[in-house]
């Protein structure tokens, strides 16, 4: 079980390294331009996986406060009751906690997943699709010019004049 918890603690970080290296390998070693573009996309999404893994917190919920929680404890209590109905252990505790503090309008940072990496990664996804679009446009221009997407064939044509 110790091994399992060790793997679970680091698996996401390992996975991001593997994905990043898969993408980097395609970018460096592949001969086909569209394959390189696919590798580039994988390379970029690996970073997104890394950031999202940073943001995750055990026992926390998604970073959306319960509706109308400007009424504070009331809403949190409702939220807790709702979660308790679903029977999750951790969330039920949280519910008890929320009910206990029903009077104070406090949002606990521990209960919510870190939203900042999510925001950064929305931007990174957008940058990724923008780069993909421009790269595909350039690849199409290259194809129109040389009639092939293979780099060695293009170099052959360039050498032959």
């Amino acid at each position: 079980m110790e091994l399992f918890s060790f793997i679970v603690a680091k698996a996401d970080y390992w996975a991001y390294v593997i994905l990043m290296m898969v993408g980097l390998y395609a970018l460096i070693a592949k001969n086909n331009l569209v394959k390189k573009i696919v590798g580039m996309t994988i390379f970029q999404t690996a970073i997104i996986l890394f950031y999202v893994s940073i943001g995750y917190k055990k026992g926390a919920t998604i970073p959306i406060l319960h509706h109308g929680s400007d009424h504070g404890g009331e809403a949190l209590a409702a939220h807790g009751a709702h979660a308790a109905a679903h029977g999750t252990q951790e969330v039920a505790e949280q519910a008890a906690h929320a009910v206990a503090h029903a009077g104070e309008a406090a949002v606990k940072a521990m209960d919510y997943i870190n939203p900042l990496p999510h925001v950064l990664m929305l931007t990174a996804i957008v940058v990724g699709v923008a780069t993909l679009g421009v790269a595909l446009a350039l690849a199409m221009k290259v194809y129109k010019e040389y009639g092939t997407l293979e780099e060695d064939e293009i170099n052959q044509q360039l050498r032959n004049g």
């Binding site: 990043m20 980097l24 970018l27 331009l33 390189k36 580039m40 390379f43 970029q44 970073i47 890394f50 950031y51 940073i54 900042l116 990496p117 950064l120 931007t123 990174a124 940058v127 923008a130 780069t131 421009v134 790269a135 446009a137 350039l138 690849a139 221009k141 290259v142 010019e145 040389y146 293009i154 360039l158």
Partner: protein, 530 residues
């Protein structure tokens, strides 16, 4: 409005690019003027910012959306960034007004999109320079890169492939930078540069911070095309159209070097960069390799723009090496060279634009006899070339002087040797061109420039050099008989005046380099560096 200057310097170009992109669908002339006005406003604001910073001596902080530093995004304008802002907006403005004809012919029916991307590129660089947030820097870096790819990709028939290679390497560089920011975030939980600078000294021994430093630096080195990863630069710059090359070649590498300086000094603090990691030896070795490789490859080129591209690789080596010497002389030299090299590269690429307009191709051999044909242009070109070689009193001499003294002070004699070697090579390169242009008679194989003149003269816009008024017919007649009198035929004034202005600026920068160093760069370097 004065308190909003840091925002104006970037949002005016941003808004103008949006208006230009829309206006291009209704009017073909409007986008150009919108772009020029926006860049002028941006230039004036950055000059005002520089004046304000020099006068008060404190950095200006501007809170975007009204949130204070670690929570929101702030802009920080200090001596260094204000100076680089002036350089960026000046280069963008002068290059655009100097290349109006080229824009109209090369980007026909797409003026809106072209001008919008041109201004967006400038806005991206301005934002990168002014921002005080590590992640915001990445977003702006991508804006500058994407618009740069588009501008470069529409050049000669080989341009798309060169640009695609640039895109792949650029994406690797930017993604590495993003990963480095992620490592910093996982170790410290902050994204603001000033906030990070307060946290990092307390966790010097963290391997995550070390790796963040390595990976950020790697990403930026890929972006600035230093020796082992330079492959994309010559193709991308020499295949693109002159107006794009004139914007991107002087700015991209220099701003990336500025970012490196900013990351090393402001974010990772000098104590960490030079005290704890101390990468001087390895970085100077890479820089020396870059200088020697760039100079030798430039020697082998027949194409003028390609030769300039390899000189840029050598110049990147100057600045990286100078900065990592880690003493005040070397860092001052590197920062001064950012300014000087931007001006020199702009002058040379504008000269390349004029040569292409005149002769129709980029071969050095087609520059024959140009001294007699275009005395003003060639005078400016000579000044720019001497500056690259490093002849006093042009500006190139002074930054090299600082770099060499820094190298001697740090005991890096290899770097000093490489600098002198590269200057000699540059001398050989440019004197070879002088020889071709001065002694061999002009023979135009391509009448591209002349034909343009004829079309122009229909609209009555041809501006011949004052004093010598020759009709286009007479000119081409005398040209077909090689023994005819040499006729002075300068490019039209809108092309010539900005170019000559930049060349005179090279002299002014040289003469005032002492006061630039004492009044601006001196305050830009943290006191920790001696």
């Amino acid at each position: 409005m004065t308190s909003n200057l840091p925002a104006l310097v970037i949002i005016v170009p941003l808004l103008a690019s949006l208006v230009a992109a829309g206006a291009g669908w209704f009017n073909r002339k409007a986008p150009f003027y919108i772009a020029v006005i926006a860049l002028l406003i941006s230039f004036i604001s950055s000059v005002l910012l520089l004046a304000q910073v020099v006068a008060t001596g404190v950095a200006i902080e501007y809170q975007m959306a009204g949130w204070p530093a670690p929570v929101g995004i702030v802009y920080v304008i200090d001596h260094l960034s204000a100076m680089v802002l002036v350089v960026i907006t000046f280069v963008a403005f002068v290059n655009l007004i100097g290349n109006r004809q080229a824009v109209e012919t090369e980007f026909k029916n797409k003026e809106g999109a072209f001008n919008a991307l041109y201004v967006l590129f400038t806005a991206g660089l301005v934002g990168m320079t002014a921002t005080g947030d590590a992640f915001n820097l990445y977003v702006l870096l991508e804006i500058a890169s994407l618009s740069g790819y588009a501008l470069i990709g529409l050049g000669s028939s080989r341009a798309p492939l060169a640009t695609l290679n640039y895109l792949f390497l650029g994406t690797i560089g930017a993604t590495f930078y993003l990963l480095g920011v992620g490592y910093l975030y996982i170790a410290t939980g902050s994204l603001n540069m000033a906030d990070l600078a307060t946290i990092i000294p307390s966790m010097m021994n963290s391997s995550t911070i070390l790796f963040a430093f390595i990976i950020c630096l790697t990403g930026l080195l890929v972006k600035m095309a230093i020796f082992p990863v330079h492959g994309w630069l010559p193709g991308a710059y020499s295949e693109s159209s002159t107006v794009s090359a004139g914007l991107i070649a002087p700015l991209t590498t220099k701003v990336t070097i500025y970012i490196m300086v900013r990351i090393c000094l402001t974010l990772f603090t000098p104590e960490y960069t030079f005290g704890y990691i101390d990468p001087t030896d390895i970085m100077v070795a890479i820089a020396v390799a870059s200088i020697i490789f760039g100079s030798l490859s430039a020697l082998a080129q027949k194409d003028f723009k390609r030769m300039l591209s390899y000189i840029i690789i050598a110049e990147v080596g100057y600045m990286v090496g100078g900065f990592f010497l880690g003493n005040r002389m070397g860092v001052s030299g590197a920062i001064l060279h950012i300014v000087n090299d931007a001006a020199m590269t702009l002058a040379l690429f504008m000269a390349a634009g004029i040569f292409i307009w005149k002769t129709g191709d980029e071969k050095q051999s087609s520059l024959k006899g140009l001294y007699a044909k275009m005395p003003f242009t060639m005078a400016g070109f000579t000044l720019a070339a001497l500056s690259v070689v490093g002849v006093p009193p042009t500006c190139g001499f002074f930054s090299k002087w600082y770099l060499i003294s820094g190298g001697i002070a740090a005991g890096q004699y290899l770097f000093v040797g490489a600098l002198i070697f590269s200057s000699l090579i540059n001398a050989v390169l440019f004197f070879r061109i002088f020889e071709i242009a001065l002694f061999e008679p002009f023979k135009s194989h391509h009448h591209a420039g002349d034909e343009e003149d004829k079309v122009e003269s229909h609209h009555g816009e041809t501006i011949v050099d004052p004093g010598v008024i020759e009709s286009a017919q007479q000119y081409s007649g005398s040209d077909s008989h090689d023994h005819g009198a040499i006729v002075i035929k300068e490019p039209p004034l809108p092309m010539l005046v900005p170019f000559l202005g930049v060349c005179v600026l090279l002299l002014i920068l040289g003469l005032y380099s002492g006061s630039i160093v004492n009044n601006i760069i001196h305050f830009a370097i943290p006191a920790g560096i001696i």
